[in-house]
């Protein structure tokens, strides 16, 4: 008994726990390495990796809105896909009007056309998000079952409205001249548009993190994620915050829609619902409500889809499901579970 002196001491977490906490950060490099070993050829791998990252970035843009909306308001919008399609159609309408700008060889005009299209698409989807939140989501906050059903109904109606406005046919549009073709780096062909997509995705990720960590609005959003009632009790209009975040989320879906449409060069009213499969997988892998998790998840899904698409084409989508299963076995709540105070 005599040698059981009680000393105050600050325990350091053992190394294994530190690694465990940071482990998701290593997933992307590890997957890239496995991809390199499986594919063998360096230049093919580089092309596929660029394609995978570009795809991941675009999925991230679409998924980020969904996951933030969930984190803050506890709402999963199954109609998110409709906003992706809506954004694509709105953007393509502008691009169609600016046909001369797109075909001209000047990069400035090309970029101007794309920026205008993106701005218009985000405006349209943001406003549509306003209507969606007021008409459809507002009445069912806190009731998950009804939310799923109602937003699914919203998806059906919005898809049909797209048919009414733009007609039932798909729209085909070539990318602006400046973004056609590819660079050759180290013997690997990398499409120019993919570089643009990666740049935009990265910029958005950094911007979102800065807004969330450095601004007052970001502080409110983070506080709302942890404990919405407390934010409300402190006198902040949480309903307005919900509405604003919902509109931003929908606008991001619109941005993603335009980019995805330019990537595929074809758009249909169903495209949003199709991409949503990958978006859901990404959001589940990342942990519902977490932007960092969503980003890592999107990279993983993008890379894996492209690697397996090259190695075993038939299993491209199934492999992402298996990835989801593996991640959930390791971390049942996703890579970065969002901690709620209640």
């Amino acid at each position: 008994m005599s040698d059981s002196l009680i000393k105050p001491r600050i325990e350091r977490p053992p190394l294994s726990e530190v690694i465990e906490a940071k482990a998701p950060l290593f997933l992307v490099p590890v997957l890239m390495l496995i991809g390199l070993l499986a594919i063998g050829s360096g230049s093919t791998w580089l092309t596929l990796t660029a394609a995978g990252l570009a795809m991941g970035m675009m999925i991230f843009i679409m998924a980020s809105g969904l996951t933030v909306i969930f984190g803050l308001m506890d709402v999963i919008n199954f109609g998110h896909g409709a906003f992706i399609s809506l954004g694509a159609f709105a953007g393509f309408t502008i691009l169609g009007l600016l046909g001369g700008w797109i075909e001209s060889p000047s990069i400035a005009l090309n970029l101007g056309a794309v920026l205008l299209a993106v701005a218009f698409a985000m405006l349209v989807t943001g406003l549509a998000g306003y209507g969606f939140e007021r008409l459809i989501v507002k009445a069912v906050y806190g009731q998950h079952l009804k939310q799923i059903l109602v937003t699914m109904g919203g998806l059906v109606v919005t898809q049909q409205l797209i048919y009414v406005i733009w007609g039932p046919d798909e729209i085909v549009l070539a990318r602006p001249t400046a973004f056609q073709g590819s660079f050759v780096v180290l013997g690997a062909a990398i499409e120019k548009y993919r570089v643009l997509a990666i740049a935009i995705g990265l910029a958005l990720f950094v911007a979102m993190r800065l807004v969330l960590s450095r601004t007052r609005i970001g502080l409110l959003v983070r506080a709302g994620v942890q404990n919405g009632e407390m934010v409300e009790a402190l006198g902040y209009p949480i309903q307005k915050l919900f509405l604003a975040v919902f509109m931003v989320g929908c606008a991001l879906a619109g941005l993603g829609g335009v980019m995805w449409g330019l990537y595929q060069e074809t758009i249909t009213a169903h495209m949003g619902a199709e991409v949503m499969i990958s978006v859901f997988i990404v959001v589940i892998i990342g942990g519902l409500g977490s932007i960092e998790g969503c980003f890592i998840g999107a990279m993983l899904v993008g890379l894996l889809t492209n690697y397996t698409g090259f190695l075993i084409p038939k299993l491209a989508l199934v492999s992402t499901i298996l990835l989801m299963g593996a991640v959930l076995m390791w971390r049942p709540q996703g890579l970065y579970p969002v901690v709620k105070a209640h």
Partner: protein, 351 residues
């Protein structure tokens, strides 16, 4: 006797009883009342979808679990029967074997999915099933060596079940008694039996526990019912029922493909049928399926007439064009979730 057949769950409303009886007699004598290939096909589809929608209601309405993988199970059943008929030739043993195997595989799939995701929130389960079902659809479309890919499988069924087989030479009430008629009654009576089994299930003590879980999972757990286990069993049972409905579809159509069994459009249709008919009541499935499939076949005609009469108005005539029938059902769907969550059945019961 009647009450025993219905497992003590009577329609509890004169209007509803009348409508249900009308549907029952309509379907029972469909070949004689509405002669013609198209209407017989609609009637058979209604029978099959009643089972499919009722089995989905077991999950959504009674247990409070939203799954988007129901068409996957429907498809597994259909492909099971189809593959058996393709590989073993047109025999009854192939039908039985395929149906049983399809149901077993569907149950096993449901078990795995339940194992993975029923412990978490409803939203999670919904997203997960959506992803898995879509991946399954893509996989089936791509494994064209086995499943026929996008084109699907066409096959022959035993001769007694085809139009070529004549029971008697004369027409009865102006209808030829051929193999197609026999198949229709096979579908009809199988659907009726499956429906009564489902009714039995939800009115058993097991069904009561499911409803308790739907109302308050936490309290059900506290009383001592293992919520995850009950939810898993409900998922598996509903998957097996859906697979059996799929087998009926495969026999009726003599064709199985992704578009008729697995597509997400059918999933949305099922959702609309359950909600519009009335969640949490097996009779809702009957009403929903009949209403939806009749609308699908005949609202388009009505909208066509409406569009012609409106003629030149630019936007309005697009909105009422026959192809936009789903728009109107979608709006009805949203309205029914808000204002009459018990659906048509709830209205008819006056609750």
């Amino acid at each position: 006797m009647m009450m025993k057949l219905l497992s003590g769950d009577s329609p509890r409303s004169k209007m509803l009883s009348a409508v249900l009886l009308l549907i029952l007699f309509g379907l029972m004598f469909a070949p004689f009342l509405f002669p013609g290939t198209r209407s017989l096909d609609t009637a058979a589809r209604i029978c099959i979808f009643i089972v499919l929608v009722a089995s989905y209601d077991l999950l959504l309405g009674y247990t409070g679990v939203v799954s988007f993988a129901h068409t996957m199970f429907f498809g597994i059943g259909a492909y099971g029967t189809a593959l058996a008929l393709v590989n073993m030739g047109a025999s009854y043993s192939a039908i039985v074997l395929g149906t049983v195997c399809g149901a077993l595989v569907a149950g096993a799939f449901a078990f795995v999915i339940a194992l993975f995701s029923l412990r978490v929130k409803a939203i999670f389960f919904a997203m997960m099933t959506l992803a898995v079902a879509s991946a399954f659809l893509v996989l089936i479309s791509q494994l064209s060596g086995i499943t026929g890919g996008e084109d699907g499988l066409s096959y022959r069924i035993p001769r007694e079940m085809t139009p070529a087989f004549k029971l008697i030479k004369e027409k009865v009430l102006g209808v030829r008694l051929n193999g197609k008629l026999i198949t229709y009654y096979v579908v009809f009576f199988s659907s009726l039996c499956l429906f009564l089994v489902l009714l039995r299930m939800v009115n058993s003590p097991f069904g009561r526990v499911l409803q308790a879980i739907r109302e308050n999972a936490f309290r059900a757990e506290a009383i001592g019912y293992k919520v995850v286990r009950y939810r898993s069993v409900a998922t598996i049972l509903s998957a097996v029922m859906a697979a059996l409905a799929g087998s009926l579809m495969a026999i009726w159509l003599r064709y199985t493909g992704p578009a008729t069994t697995l597509s997400m459009d059918i999933m949305v249709d099922i959702l609309l049928m359950v909600v519009i008919g009335g969640m949490g009541s097996m009779y809702g499935a009957v009403i929903g399926a009949v209403l939806f499939l009749l609308t699908q076949s005949y609202l388009q005609d009505l909208l066509g007439i409406l569009q012609e009469s409106l003629g030149s108005l630019p936007v309005v005539s697009d909105v009422v064009s026959p192809e936009r029938w789903l728009l109107w059902l979608g709006i009805l769907f949203i309205c029914s979730i808000y204002w009459f969550p018990k659906g048509v059945v709830g209205r008819l019961r006056g609750t």
